[in-house]
Symmetry: C7
Subunit: 95 residues, 7 copies
């Protein structure tokens, strides 16, 4: 069974806040209002443009992304909290 996000939504598994990425980027848990890192688990088909077509989502499954700590929705999968956010709320991809 899997979750298939709608519209331009993205399902994200947040990384532990104390985790330090290899490139030296730290997003400490103490800084509550700071953005968070996470792994993209599933991606929606993209938002519908005025032309009726879908704008492709700029992140893909497996990407590590930075996203705001608040906003979006929370769902629990196998006892782990995941986040569903809109693509437009994701700040950046870590490569």
């Amino acid at each position: 069974m899997k979750i298939e996000p709608l519209d331009d939504r993205v399902l994200i598994k947040p990384l532990e806040a104390e985790e330090k990425t290899s490139g030296g980027i730290i997003l400490p848990d103490a800084a509550k209002e700071k953005p968070q890192q996470g792994e993209v688990i599933a991606v929606g088909p993209g938002r519908t443009l005025d032309t009726g077509e879908r704008a492709p989502v700029a992140v893909k499954k497996g990407d590590t992304v930075i996203f705001p700590k608040y906003g979006g929705d929370t769902v629990k999968i196998d006892d782990v909290e995941h986040r569903i956010v809109r693509e437009s709320d994701i700040l950046a991809i870590l490569e």
Copy 2:
């Protein structure tokens, strides 16, 4: 007799909150602000684009969906509370 939602609205029969899906996704009732699962009972024709055409709705009858606990409208059918929400409020499909 049946209910035919208008625009991009979707009629949903909420699943019992304590129900655990086979894939291990739990959306506990205690977490009042958490999204809810439900079964899609009927789907509107989709919202009208600026071009005058309808954008097809991304969910279909029988889908299990995750949707916000609040928002939308409530109607009672055969003594069971149902929800009418807009497609854009539905977070994801469970497959």
Copy 3:
């Protein structure tokens, strides 16, 4: 003499709240914030799209519809309160 709604407005004669439809749908009067049923009496030409054309209204005279208890305007015709609401506020058609 008749009322001809403008834009995407719809003139509705509300059904008695205690009325139970044949399909078992009840919208009790006690639940003040719940949507209401009514009969469509007259329908406007539809809203003007950016292309200058009118988007046809999805309900027609004689339809039984579900619409929000509040919002829109109230006019009295032959001592009976009617409602003028926009098409986009109507939730569903009962068939």
Copy 4:
């Protein structure tokens, strides 16, 4: 001398509130928040669409219309208060 409304504005001469139309439609003065009847005196050229063209106004000089009691602007012509409202605020035409 005459008043030529701009954009999609409509100049309306309100009917006396106690006036009862032949079809039995009453909009009593006591119900302060209720819509009002009036006669259309002059009509603007319509709002400019994104295409640069004007959307024709759906009411014409001489129409009896229902419009909200509040909103729009008031001007005095020959000691009679008139109203200037936007077309989109007019609810319906009485025929």
Copy 5:
């Protein structure tokens, strides 16, 4: 030297409030919230549409217009207060 308004702005020289127009239209100064009359002194090129073209302004130099008493900006020219308002705020032309 002259003032050339930008966008869809219009430079207006307000008429004395107690002035009564020949057609019997009075906009008394006492009614502080009432619209005002004035003479159009200069007109901008019109607002830019999404197509990149300018929508022509519906008033021209010399027109007598009715406009809201508040809103827009005030500039003093030769000791006389003038108003700069957007075309969309002007209610009507007096002819």
Copy 6:
């Protein structure tokens, strides 16, 4: 070194408030809420339309413009406060 404004922004050097222009236009400093005069120092490429093209900015370097006293941003260049405002906030050009 120079400042190159982005989008439809315009860099303005405000004129001394007590300065009287030759045409008799005064914008006294005492009237704190009144618009201000200034000289255009640099102009951005214009805002991007929905078509992807830039709408040309209606003012050019050297123009004397009237702009609101508040709003926009302030930067100090050679100890003189300058303003960065959007084209849409500029009221008029003085010629």
Copy 7:
């Protein structure tokens, strides 16, 4: 490892506030509400237009830009606070 901003976002490394640029532009730290200077580190692909295409971002890696002191998000890279802001929030490029 690098950060790849999404949409029209720009990653900026703020310059020390007391730093004086060669052209005499000072943006003192004391003036808390004043805009800030910074160096562009990475640029997103641009926002998606209604046509489905991307509007190219007007700044590039290495540019020195002026941007508002507040707004956007903060991330820490190698112990240095960086900012992620939208292109539309950047005021100007210093050349």
